[in-house]
Amino acid sequence: MKDKLLKPGMEKLRLELGEVVGILEARSPYGAVTLSSREMTRYFVDNTQERVSTGEPTAGVILRTFDGKTMREKGLGGFHKEEVIRAAKSFVSGVDFSSNGKLDPGPERTGDFQTEMENDPALVPTDQKLDALRDMNRRVNAIDSRIINARVSFLEMREKTVFRNRVADLAQDIQRVHMGLMITVMGEKGAVWDFDSKCGTGGLEILAFSDEELAELVGNAIKLLDAGRIDPGEYTVVTAPGVSGVIAHESFGHGVETDMFVKERAKAANFIGKRVGSDLVNIFDDPSLPDEFGSYFFDDEGYPAQPTQIVKSGIFERGLTDMFSASALEIQRSPNGRRQDFTRKVYPRMTNTFFGSGDLSVEELISRVEEGIYIPKVSSGMEDPKGWGIQVSGHYAFEIKGGKVTEKMYAPVGITGYVPDVLGSISGVASDFSLSGGYCGKGTKETVPVTDGGPHLLMKARLG
């Protein structure tokens, strides 16, 4: 069973959007209207408290026109027909549309889309969700007496969008879910913590944690009590999919969002068609992947989701665009125009960004390393689109000796390096593949849900 595609207010106003586009385009070379509703509920249980809270919902209308040079938008709260028509008339009345710039509205397209799910969270009672979190909290706490807190959180986020321009009439209803675990353990030297999460577009069915997964999480948290600091230097490194993904995200994700090209912020702009990594490096962005946290059916400018290959066999192919940057750079669109919500502008943004898989097993990859470091878990990353520096923080890492991962743990482990050096050093790509989800900002704002990942990779990097 699923919730309705659109809220009643959106459904009603959708019928009037042709008229609103007509008002905007009576004077402007391009007009579009978006109806956007984003709602979020967070459930939280730990050893000392329980919480259920709603995130600040946003629901409103975005009127968009192009005056030939500048994209103009007005965001209005709610879905009120008279207010929207009045605002559309007033919005275009004071604008000079004499410039000759044009924007391509794209191909004709219509369609209504909804996330496939077995167990729609909107239809599951609150007490059942809380009981599931309480049960998870009990399961984790039962594993080891050194656990002093087990935080369990569940987030459900519903995005309902209608997009209308002169050739497109689209609607989508996307359900994103996220389950997070964070455990704190106490040892003689103090407290340390570890975390895990699962997420996607779908229902509650995608969030289950097995007993083995929980035991591994607790086991690693306990090992963190005795983790040492790594001696800074260059190492042969094997990265797990989550770490590989953040390297993709920070290097050929942010750095190829094409607003960065227009702003002259991207070193990659000088490398189109040039080598940026070894032959083994393939990087993609794909919002059309089913069930993933960063997926959608069409972007916030109505462009249909499809995969983009960013790097092919080590050669930089193309960047990720929104309507404005694609038009300014005169390049083909990709489906990456995204906005945080109706209060924010569209930018070119990543969706599901990942390294393509290779043909080695993970065991074969690790067996190639006589002495090195295995980094299984990432905690954060930061982009440097112009300098191509990498900062990725591994939450912890293990020593590799004689082709085997040992129990010796280091934490935290910073990974740095120059992007082409790091990607150029990739000498092995495993056949596994997984994505991890989270939220990505542009600078410190404009948060959107994304995933990143890929396979295990073998590379050289500077650690500290």
Partner: protein, 437 residues
């Protein structure tokens, strides 16, 4: 609509206490691209957020309190939303507590009056000033800038009798400087948020960023290093007070909720440092009263008035920072939200701190220490090596260490500055940190 919500809440016998927050925002955003305007946006929004507290019973039949929160858009269905909030509150089981009683709330300066008089004009003036100032630095190009202004009105009403209103403005500015040519270009990305345009210190910040951009063109990779490290200005503020993406270690470890869960080792009257203090003694306030502080507020989301809380006095923890619930559990006075981090002036001049050989960190890629242990390994976007009277820029490498150990061995400058969420010394000399080159 507020009256209707109050009426519906007051007539519901299942509700023990309630709080309503009515937020109205109006914003203007302008995005500049080289010599043209890429985009302009106007945004208005309004929201009612309702917290309801209900008595409940946990699975063993013990008395409990539950909180349910719902948000209602203007014109939204009130009764359905409140029914959902009550249902949720009855299902949530926490140790019993109650909402805050009314207390005297003083006015606090949080508004840029010149912005309110002409939002669009003032944003344009900020961007024009940035362009004009940049024209004085011919070695850099301003390729992009974004400036947002927002006015927010909050009205908080509670069943306990709190009835308070506040207005605040928020000004956000980011810009990009590019220096050099072709593949040798470098960039400096600046991002700042303040309550007032005047506090952006635009000319001064633009000059600093322009200097960073030129220095990046000359910067080489650093050698590995161990010794004194000087940090100044906004970068020091981020290390001490955190920023949007990475919270403050001091804020985390002084949190009453972490004390209640046993996750912070800090105890009132005990040193916050695990080892010996080799540098200046450390004193700090959590100050939500600081005029024009970005996290300052006359009252927080529970209606707790702004306070200047002595947090750490001569290395000893003086207070935990607590919301109403954890104050109730731990028998503390509720402080409400943390606010700004305020440190007293040090006793050494910045000039003295910069004597001899040292490294200076101008910018990190991202300073993000572990929120519990304080361990960090953060890439350096730009630094300087001062040796034998010579100053050489460098980029790359990582500053590696532990923030608590670093704060136990630091000297603070006597000159102070305000950086949005931090008021305190403008510079600090950490006596022994490591850079992995």
């Amino acid at each position: 609509m507020l009256e209707k919500i109050v009426k519906a809440l007051s007539s519901n016998a299942d509700i023990k206490a309630w709080i309503i927050r009515h937020d109205s925002t109006r914003g203007f955003q302008q995005y500049e691209l080289k010599d043209s305007t890429e985009s302009v946006r106007e945004v208005e929004s309004e929201l009612y957020t309702v917290d309801v507290l209900c008595d409940s019973q946990d699975s063993e039949g013990k008395p409990a309190s539950g909180l349910g929160t719902v948000s209602i858009l203007p014109g939204g269905e009130i009764n359905n939303a409140l029914e959902k909030a009550v249902l949720t509150a009855q299902l949530v089981h926490n140790q019993p507590y109650d909402f805050a009683e009314p207390a005297s709330i003083s006015d606090l300066e949080l508004v840029d009056r010149s912005y309110l008089a002409d939002p669009q004009g003032e944003i344009q003036t900020v961007l024009d000033t940035l362009k004009d100032t940049t024209a004085g630095f011919p070695h850099v190009r301003l390729t992009a800038a974004e400036c947002f202004g927002q006015e927010k009105q909050t009205h908080l009403v509670s069943s306990k009798g709190v009835d308070a209103q506040q207005s605040a403005t928020d000004i956000y500015l980011q810009w990009v400087y590019i220096g050099g040519k072709g593949e040798n270009e470098v960039e400096t990305f600046a991002e700042t948020r303040r309550r007032r345009i005047a506090d952006l210190n635009l000319e001064e910040e633009a000059a600093l960023r322009a200097q960073y951009t030129s220095d990046l063109l000359e910067a080489a990779a650093p050698e590995s290093y161990s010794g004194p490290v000087v940090v100044k200005g906004g970068t020091l503020a981020v290390m001490a007070a955190g920023e949007m993406l990475a919270g403050s270690l001091l804020k985390t470890l002084s949190s009453a909720s972490l004390k209640y869960s046993g996750e912070t080792p800090w105890e009132i009257g005990k040193s916050i440092f695990p080892g010996e203090v080799k540098g200046d003694d450390f004193t700090a306030w959590a100050n939500r009263q600081f005029p024009y502080g970005v996290p300052s507020s006359a009252f927080d989301h529970e209606g707790i008035p702004a306070q200047r809380v002595p947090l750490i006095e001569d290395n000893l923890l003086a207070s935990f920072i607590s919301d109403q619930r954890f104050a109730y559990y731990l028998n503390l006075e509720p402080s409400g939200d943390f606010g700004c981090l305020e440190l007293p002036a040090g006793s050494t001049s910045t000039a003295k701190l910069r004597e001899g050989s040292y490294l200076e960190i101008a910018e990190f890629s991202w300073f993000n220490p572990d929120p519990i242990t304080g361990n960090f390994a953060c890439e350096i976007r730009l630094g300087y090596q001062e040796k034998d009277g010579e100053r050489k820029p460098f980029k790359g490498g990582m500053l590696v260490g532990n923030l608590l150990e670093a704060l136990a061995d630091v000297r603070w400058s006597e000159e102070t500055g305000f950086y949005g969420n931090y008021f305190g010394p403008q510079a600090a000399r950490f006596n022994n940190l490591k850079v992995a080159g």
